[in-house]
Symmetry: C3
Subunit: 208 residues, 3 copies
């Protein structure tokens, strides 16, 4: 699967693996895991979504295990977060939220494109695009013995799937692949950031 603007994507990809890994490590440190647990949570948070995607669409072995450097990056970021945790805790939250939105958008686009490339239905591609964005965080939260955050609050998976829908719609309108990908990415990031800024959330039913 060839993605548009290869070098830009690579940089964004490394960035998004790093952001998800830092978040996984920070939550693992809060949960009092040891160094190994912190590195495992970094790995899972950064690469779990893509691994689930590849297992489900039948891409075997998963992309994340075909080279050594994606896992190595995720684990090294986890170890660095462990060592430098006082410093990491001081990263301004808006910066983390912004980088996380970029990571989410990239994962959504990559998941949607790869699912389409494997010949599955666009509706399935939207679901897998969303899973690619939130699957790592979901496994992370299950290992930390929480109900996954993504199921409870916020416009998060919704932003990922919106990006997937925009990408597919743009392709259907005849836009070139890189433009469609760019539009889907932008829609995901914008919706995510605006929803954080405006405190949007999906409806809940109040327990009686």
């Amino acid at each position: 699967v060839k993605l548009p603007t290869q070098r830009l994507v690579l940089v964004a990809d490394l960035l998004s693996v790093s952001v998800f890994a830092v978040q996984g490590a920070a939550l693992a440190i809060q949960a009092n895991l040891d160094l190994l647990g912190v590195m495992v949570l970094s790995f899972v948070a950064a690469l779990g979504g893509g691994i689930l995607r590849d297992l489900l669409i039948g891409a075997s072995p998963p992309q994340a295990l075909k080279t050594w450097w994606y896992p190595a990056l995720a684990i090294a970021v986890g170890a660095a977060t462990f060592v430098l945790h006082r410093w990491v805790l001081q990263i301004p939250p808006p910066l983390l939220i912004g980088l996380d939105a970029v990571g989410l958008g990239l994962a959504a686009v990559a998941g949607t494109e790869k699912t389409l490339a494997y010949g599955l239905h666009p509706f399935i591609a939207v679901l897998i695009g969303g899973l690619n964005g939130v699957g790592g965080g979901t496994i992370r939260d299950v290992l930390l013995d929480h109900v996954p955050t993504v199921l409870r609050t916020d416009i998060y998976a919704t932003a990922a799937m919106t990006g997937a829908v925009v990408l597919i719609a743009a392709q259907a309108c005849g836009l070139p692949a890189r433009w469609a990908a760019g539009l889907g990415f932008t829609a995901c990031v914008l919706l995510r950031l605006v929803s954080v800024w405006q405190h949007w959330s999906l409806p809940h039913i109040q327990a009686a």
Copy 2:
């Protein structure tokens, strides 16, 4: 894999996806998940067992992701349960238990037959038949941060595996495929319903 009495099976299949989806959605609403969480739990409860089955026997991509309408049905049922939850809570429990037993029986038969069709040992087919029946509920309960209900109480997975054993025994006795499937299905549903009615359960060890 061609199943007997195709149209009947299709109707039963749609019914069982719907029942598992309603149950997943109802538990998600009780756990105070948002609309997205409710739809995810419907999807997972309805289709998770079949997806686990297909990953384990090597049927890739899973049946549930080959068409758009199984996921769409599960998700739509989840959304409808969210909107109509007051009404759904009033469905008489015996009706839900009956429909759930039908869904369990169908999943057990489908899992057993598909595993045999992929050339695995009948003993493995019994295990996968049981997993097909209870896997969705297990993932559902893990995401809701419970010990899976199926591991604690009731004759449930046991009923699914009994149906699988009856199906395989009937085939070994030379019965035609559709009769064997019908017998396995009937054994599962009957055992499930009688065990609920009679409050049967498997032995526990009392904590000291």
Copy 3:
């Protein structure tokens, strides 16, 4: 994948499946699961690591489901632990720890060798070797609604990955396969036992 000293490995393999199954069953009994839950936890604890390994490297169907007797052994050991639980509770802990270390070492070696045989990078083989050792216990703990023990304490996954590194280094030095496997196995078992004896653990960060 042909392993060295076939008969010895078979004996060790049956032993390690049994040990992991006994541990899974004992934890399930403590968590008040019923007989079915106990057998499921035995199965998962004994075979889950190998199944995860095979799903990730693309060995389909997983080795543990290709024959009936690995699952049957795990389940039978679970049932026996249930029936004989008073007796099982009296097994001296040092014996269990020793057998568990042997099981860990064997799983680490098997996971590393199989991953290399499937053409993946040695770094990935170390990760999968570790996962082969601890994956079953991880799924077991998730089903029991705990944070996996392996992420919190002890030199456990670390011992498995150390064994994997030793195996790969020995192969790179030109040692014959069975010597390399033996060295990796020995390194894992020794590190595990010494770390239990000396109460070694990985660093934690104290919650503020």
